[in-house]
């Protein structure tokens, strides 16, 4: 059944427009010239992406992490920082008194000189 609101096209009428568009858009034949243009695009795209492919092909596992660390410069800094950390952990602070052996008193504001009147 045709449904046509007062202010619109009926469904059947809209379908007639679709039908006209389907038949009006006649099949576009696949010409040899068109295929050659598309294949030329493909060839150009391959040529353009070759350097990127070479980089991809030479990629080694962990290369991303290496780059994230900043390459040689970043890695050498990391090695130095690690060595210092190991040294601090291994070296004994022999000259310091054992902190647990006796309480340490430290007076920042002597009560006898609260107002800084002495001296």
């Amino acid at each position: 059944m045709t449904e046509r609101p007062r202010d619109g096209l009926a469904d059947e009428e809209l379908d007639a427009l679709f039908s006209a568009a389907r038949s009006g858009g006649a099949p576009v034949p696949l010409s040899a010239d068109f295929v050659e243009r598309v294949v030329a695009d493909a060839a150009a795209e391959r040529a353009a992406s070759r350097p990127a492919d070479a980089v991809k092909a030479g990629r080694v596992p962990g290369a991303g992490l290496w780059a994230m660390l900043g390459g040689w410069a970043g890695a050498s800094g990391l090695v130095a920082a690690t060595a210092v950390g190991v040294w601090i952990g291994v070296a004994q602070p022999l000259d310091l008194p054992a902190l647990g052996a006796a309480p340490v008193e430290l007076t920042l504001m002597p009560e006898s000189d609260l107002f800084g009147m002495e001296g």
């Binding site: 096209l9 007639a16 427009l17 009006g24 576009v28 068109f34 294949v39 493909a42």
Partner: protein, 188 residues
């Protein structure tokens, strides 16, 4: 021997096999040209669109994940998208007379003119719809695809497709309301 599927051909192209690109073009382009031709009504523009869509395919070939999506499904979507863009661009002043040419010699001149006018009115109205609605309506009513297939192409649920096409049809009927007489529709 079974023929390689589209994804395998695309992978072969990505590995440097240009013959695979040619084979893929010969396999995919005819249908894509038909789709673009129906949406645009212009053979030269249809070729431009399909060439552009395939160029995009060549570009993404190295990153294509074989098996995750179908090349043909991807192409439906890209062509629909590019055609919608073209239709919307036409609103900025391409004269109606420069679009479409009669192909079917069996119809009378008057019938041909009316069919062209109807097709162009529809395309102009499609250009006024939101792009997703226009794409869904074109895939449904110009390409004759089922809702499940459109859902795959547009990466949405079947219900969303039904809603889009219903809203699209309503929009078209309203947009074309003032042109009934001009398009050859008369009241009973």
């Amino acid at each position: 021997m079974t023929e390689p599927d589209d994804g395998a051909l695309l992978a072969a192209f990505a590995a440097g096999d240009l013959a695979a690109a040619r084979l893929l073009t010969e396999r995919l382009a005819p249908r894509a040209l038909g789709q673009a031709g129906r949406m645009l009504g212009d053979a030269a523009e249809a070729e431009d669109v399909v060439q552009e869509a395939l160029l995009r395919l060549w570009r993404i070939a190295p990153d294509w994940r074989h098996g995750e999506a179908q090349v043909s499904t991807w192409l439906w979507r890209v062509v629909a998208n590019l055609c919608t863009d073209r239709l919307r661009a036409r609103r900025r002043g391409v004269p109606l007379e420069s679009v479409a040419e009669p192909e079917d010699g069996r119809r009378s001149v008057a019938e041909e003119m009316q069919a062209r006018a109807r097709a162009e009115a529809l395309r102009a109205a499609l250009a006024e719809l939101p792009p997703r609605q226009a794409e869904a309506v074109a895939l449904r009513h110009l390409e004759g695809l089922g809702n499940p297939e459109i859902a795959r192409i547009m990466d949405m649920s079947v219900e969303a497709v039904e809603s889009l096409t219903a809203r699209g049809r309503r929009g078209l009927r309203a947009l074309l309301a003032g042109r009934r007489e001009e398009l050859g529709f008369e009241d009973d």
